[in-house]
């Protein structure tokens, strides 16, 4: 049988990939054997799904994933709102507004997210009287909001100046101009990168495990503390993040393609 050169190249690539992967697995196995690690994959499925009285129930890892998805979802919404507000402030004619936006952006971008989470949890949460989940969502939203505002601002600035002039010439107020003319056109530039922000949020949400929100990472840590299945659980947790993140990236790509066509 004769392969075409393209297929042949592909096959060689796949072969190389398999070799590298096998080498990694081998090193890992040897290493773990070296430290006397006792693999127990058989117990992992019960942390995903448990059978309880004939009913299928989500195990701690799946429940954690659900919380992670909730955090990601709410933070995505809130960060988009914050982003929009900050972008409009930065584009506004008000000096105070622009200054406020600047201070917010510089603070968020120049302090570690972990410190922001602790700051909100230990300083702001008692003052505002909000729970751990809300604190986590707020921290992530404020953090991603800074990046969202850049995306939104860039989308707005990219709308041709003639669109503003046409709207103003018709006598539209600034608010209507934004709402009916500028934002709808900016959307097609804003939405794809904003959807990619969902992936960042998903990954960053692991950090709120530090304030004991029982999302995926926290559930993983709890299981390990009880069972010492360190390797198996971290492998599983990483795989779950990977699958969800890949899925979100795929959705973002499709949204981008759809918006470019229409």
């Amino acid at each position: 049988m004769k392969w075409s050169p393209r297929v042949e190249n592909r096959l060689v690539d796949v072969a190389k990939f398999v070799v590298v992967l096998t080498a990694c697995a081998y090193l890992l196995l040897r290493g773990s054997a070296g430290i006397g690690y006792n693999w127990q994959w058989q117990t992992i499925p019960s942390y995903l799904l448990t059978v309880d009285g004939g009913h299928l129930r989500p195990g701690p890892l799946l429940r954690g994933l659900l919380v992670t998805l909730e955090i990601t979802f709410f933070s995505l919404l809130l960060s988009a709102l914050i982003g929009l507000g900050v972008a409009l402030l930065r584009l506004s004619g008000s000096f105070v507004g622009r200054l406020l936006a600047r201070v917010y952006l510089e603070t968020i971008r120049n302090t570690p997210l972990l410190v922001q989470i602790f700051f909100l949890y230990f300083v702001m949460a008692p003052i505002l009287d909000i729970g751990r989940f809300a604190t986590g969502v707020l921290a992530l939203s404020l953090f991603e909001g800074a990046y969202a505002s850049e995306i939104i601002r860039a989308g707005i600035v990219a709308v041709p100046i003639g669109q503003w002039e046409a709207a103003h010439a018709l006598g539209l107020r600034s608010f209507d101009t934004y709402r009916a003319v500028i934002i709808p056109q900016a959307m097609r530039r804003i939405l794809p990168p904003l959807t990619s922000q969902a992936v960042s949020l998903l990954k960053d949400s692991a950090l709120v495990s530090t304030i004991a929100v029982y999302e995926l990472t926290m559930e993983g840590r709890t299981i390990i503390a009880e069972t010492f299945l360190t390797f198996e659980v971290w492998f599983t947790v990483a795989a779950i993040y990977l699958v969800v993140a890949l899925f979100l990236s795929f959705v973002a790509d499709q949204a981008g393609k759809y918006l470019r066509i229409s």
């Binding site: 002039e165 046409a166 010439a169 018709l170 006598g171 539209l172 009916a180 003319v181």
Partner: protein, 253 residues
């Protein structure tokens, strides 16, 4: 009619006194510029590139702030007062060289938008009036199309209908046909011609000298931000007074 109203309707609808516009640079785009336009009058502005024609039109509806002088439109003074500015913009329709249609809205949506948001008309009322305007500009069957599905000439006619939807007292045209293929210029000029016949006050920047001669009441020639000369269209082309005007006319005719 009371005295004040009578006086209003007799006074010029556009009254521009000694305005100045300086862009950072500094570029003096308008200097000591003045003009009055009567109700129903069609004024054509000509002049070399960079002479300040567009800047003047854009000052009239407040798209550019003037640095000195006064502008009064239909008795309202264009100043920092936001309500005045909006009121004036609602009296003035503007048509741009590059159409500037809203690409995310259909033809009907483009013409409806300001009626809905500014005049607060209902969807039905707005659509009804829009359809009449689209018929007037010869696009009755195009209301569901998007701007990118139209030819340049059709887009510009939609833009005219969109401006007319606010029932303006004044229409400004900034080189409305300059971006069009030659075979589409006629259809847009026809619409403008009809508007002039219907008594619309118009200020038109154009390079179409045939159109200028035929439709305008007055011609204004400007150069380097200043008014060089103005006069009735009939005499303007026959007897330009200034050497600079003659030179310009020779170049373009």
């Amino acid at each position: 009619m009371n005295d004040q109203a009578k006086q209003e309707s007799n006074s010029p609808i556009i009254d521009v006194r000694r305005i100045e516009k300086i862009f950072p640079g500094p570029v003096v785009a308008l200097r000591d510029f003045f003009i009055t336009v009567e109700r129903g009058e069609v004024l054509v502005i000509i002049g070399p590139s960079g002479s300040g024609k567009s800047t003047f039109l854009r000052c009239l509806n407040g798209l550019e702030e003037i640095d000195a002088g006064t502008i009064r439109i239909d008795g309202i003074s264009l100043d920092e007062n936001e309500a005045n500015r909006l009121a004036i913009r609602r009296k003035i329709g503007m048509v741009f060289q590059s159409f500037n249609l809203f690409p995310h809205l259909t033809v009907l949506g483009n013409v409806d938008l300001a009626q809905r948001l500014v005049q607060k008309k209902s969807r039905r009322q707005a659509a009804e009036f829009s359809r009449r305007l689209l018929e007037q500009v010869g696009l009755a069957d195009m209301e569901d199309r998007y701007p990118h599905q139209l030819s340049g000439g059709q887009q510009q006619r939609v833009a005219i209908a969109r401006a007319l939807a606010m029932m303006p007292k004044i229409m400004l045209f900034d080189e409305a046909t300059s971006a069009l293929d030659p075979e589409m210029i006629g259809e847009v000029l026809d619409v403008m011609r009809q508007l002039a016949r219907d008594g619309m006050t118009m200020v038109v920047v154009t390079h179409e000298m045939g159109f200028a001669r035929e439709v305008s009441d007055r011609i204004l020639f400007m150069d380097k931000g200043r008014l060089v000369e103005e006069g009735e269209s009939q005499t303007f082309f026959r007897n330009p007074r200034h050497a600079r005007t003659r030179e310009f006319l020779q170049q373009i005719l």
